[in-house]
Amino acid sequence: MRLRLSHLPELPYLYSMLFNSIEYLIFLPTVFILYWLIQDKIWWRNLFIVAVSYLFYGWWDWRFLGLIIFSSVVDYSIGRAMGRASDARVRKRLLYMSLATNIGILGFFKYFNFFTESFADAMQGVGVAIDPFTLSIVLPVGISFYTFQTLSYTIDVYRKKIEPTEDVVAFFAFVSFFPQLVAGPIERASRLLPQFSQSHTFDLNNAKNGLRQILWGLFKKVVIADNCAPMVNQIFDNYETQPAPVLLLGAVYFAFQIYGDFSGYSDIAIGTARLFGFKLMQNFAYPYFARDMAEFWRRWHISLSTWFRDYLYIPLGGSRVSSQWLVVRNVAAIFIVSGFWHGANWTFIFWGALNALYFLPLILRKKNRSNLEIVAADKMLPSLREFSGILLTFALTCLAWIFFRAENITQAFDYILHITHLSMDFSRFNVINHGSVIALIVILVLVEWVNRRKEFPMQNSTLPVVIRWAIYLILCILILANGDSNDSFIYFQF
């Protein structure tokens, strides 16, 4: 079952090419073989990537193609114009044009109805009844991701961090690269764009790791996330009648649903890119093993949090400002905007604000960089202090996830209120279904804990081949057995 966000328009999932679909199973090997068949002609290879990426994206809805092409054309042209312009004012104007275009597109498709309805609600609050003007807007899948990716290019060119590219095909390939097009990781031009100018030779070990990462990502998405989803829906839809422990369990299930879904997708994207010789950034680094909220945000959705750090937080001054209030302002801004990025609902904004509240004590006390190394790096188990930190951070995260999952703020607070009632009425609780899901979560946590030093658990596995293949077989069977739901990825809606 999908995460139901009733305020978002329905996406045209009927013909989507999800990573866990038959269409993708046919698409990927075909593209893989054709890609490596092409001689090492970089221009042709990039053109091929553009073509298959547009095919992949157009499979969702061909109407969305115009928007991504438009965004690519605008930012490519602006980049080149910036490169030619010597006047700083002209460069600044060009940057503003890029910002206006990309944020304008994002704002219109994603936030237009939110603003009009919120305005109407606010007017109603002061006794002025307004009928909000709303549009039936279909949210193009991945718009939040590729607009940020192209913005990173124009901003980096403006800052003279990178030279503007003259290779239009390479640029279009950078924007539309299909593994990370619809749900990230949000790549920086300085990292990904040069890879489209380099020739690639096939690396067997890298490709094997890519396949392993795809398999692990599918396991997290199809087996973990898709099994948590119906539990979450059942608990959140009937929270008024559930006992307190079940409500807490619901928050935990959602924590693993969103982690399995999003990190699973990222793994599939990164693994797919490896097959073609590309290196994408790590997007999740075992965030639920974080010992404090600062570490959590260094490990969760890394591409987005670093994007906001580099393009919003640091330009505002970061923590190197003259007063504590400015630090508070900067931290609040980054988290609230991050929440707002996730969706046009006050719940996301509140979720962002709550995370800002978690983060502020650490940064004001300059404790935000206390835990930089991997937890229990040279030990098997964490210390009691580390374990307490992990539990507390996880609890705070789950509390925030309640707001992320709830339909509205009222429901979120009501949910939390029902937890505080400490009801122990288990008459409507069906324990049978929960055992297997909890077992899967425990297995996931254990496997990730043991392999926390790696980018993903199966990376460069040194297990005997028989055991490795047995693990692959079991994972494939589990994925196939759970693959009937065809649920889309949560983050496609962002």
């Binding site: 893989f32 692959y472 069977i477 589990l478 009937d484």
Partner: protein
């Protein structure tokens, strides 16, 4: 613009020439061969492992509900013609008294009813070769089968193939595809059912196959009260009545039976839906070939208390009522059976 187009054409041509020559010498695809070989071997191992797991669990599930197909198929080949062969879903398995029917009509009766989600195509193909001149084929499908269930089945087609491999040769390409796609889920369900079978055997309880008589009727729910709950009821979207494949398939079977002097009859399953469903059922009935349909579908709507554990499984004590109703429908439609 023409210059640019010409440049592109030229580049394509040069590319084609270069690559045709280059391919003969060296290309990057060759380096992927070790990986592709591993993938092919893994895929073969995976298919083999899945098939083995399905067959092993399927062997245990011979004593489960779907395993009663063994008894039913034995009955199918041993019953002498002219005979009455009933096909349909689990409404037949749970809710008919074949012996009463047999005694009333004077023909040998075969109850092939199992689970409607194996698909109507399989139901027809399973009995086709065992139908002879003057036999009667009686179709008693659940309403949901007319609306939602694909004729080539889903998970249960994979399950039935693993539990009763003798009929594998009867599967068509679409059924093989569905079996492959749903093999993972089928394995999971086989595994769960095999746990139930093993648990029953360890406790000395009779398994499903031991609670099925030689005519194919299930009697494991004898004496058990209704546990059917209203919330299990499905609401049908009556904008679309029939799935696209079912009526042509029924027509095709009708033609086959007529050309082989076999009588085909369509009856109705008992249903525990509200009276408001009678309009939907009337529309379903209107879509079926009237000349071979007996009875009135809305007349088979019964109170919830008549049902055991699903909206189509009658409690044991109500089987006779349903059977008598069916007999009345057959007689009033002047279905004549050639006596022994």
């Amino acid at each position: 613009m023409w210059k640019r187009a010409g440049s592109v054409v030229l580049r394509v041509s040069i590319f084609a020439m270069e690559n045709t020559q280059a391919y003969k010498h060296k290309n990057n695809l060759k380096y992927t061969f070790p990986l592709l070989k591993r993938l092919v071997v893994f895929a073969l191992v995976f298919v083999f492992a899945m098939a083995l797991a399905l067959l092993l669990t399927g062997y245990i599930c011979r004593e489960g509900r779907l395993g009663t197909t063994y008894q039913k198929n034995v009955r199918l080949v041993t019953a002498t013609s002219p005979k009455l062969v009933m096909i349909g879903g689990s409404n037949l398995h749970y809710g008919i008294n074949s012996r009463m029917l047999q005694d009333s009509i004077g023909l040998q009766v075969v109850n092939m009813g199992l689970q409607h989600s194996i698909g109507l195509q399989y139901m027809f193909d399973e009995v086709r070769e065992s139908l002879y001149k003057n036999d009667v084929l009686l179709l008693l499908l659940e309403p949901s089968a007319y609306i939602g269930m694909p004729v080539n089945g889903r998970t249960n087609i994979a399950r039935i193939a693993s539990i009763y491999p003798k009929n594998i040769d009867k599967l068509n390409a679409t059924q093989w595809y569905n079996a492959a796609m749903y093999s993972g889920l089928a394995l999971l369900q086989n595994y769960r059912d095999s746990q139930v079978v093993i648990s029953k055997k360890l406790r000395g309880k009779p398994t499903f196959d031991q609670m099925c008589n030689e005519l194919g009727d299930y009697h494991g729910h004898k004496g058990l009260p209704s546990k059917y709950k209203k919330k299990q009821r499905r609401d049908f979207n009556d904008e679309k009545i029939f799935n696209n494949e079912i009526l042509p398939l029924i027509q095709e079977m009708k033609i086959y039976t007529q050309s082989n002097d076999i009588q085909m009859v369509i009856g109705f399953s008992p249903s525990a839906y509200s009276a408001s469903d009678s309009l939907l059922f009337t529309r379903i009935q209107a879509g079926l070939p009237a000349e071979i349909t007996v009875g009135n579908m809305p007349d088979y709507i019964f109170p919830d208390s008549f049902f055991y554990d699903s909206p189509n499984h009658l409690i044991y004590s109500k089987r006779d009522m349903r059977t008598r109703k069916l007999l009345r429908d057959l007689r009033s439609a002047s279905i004549f059976f050639t006596p022994h």
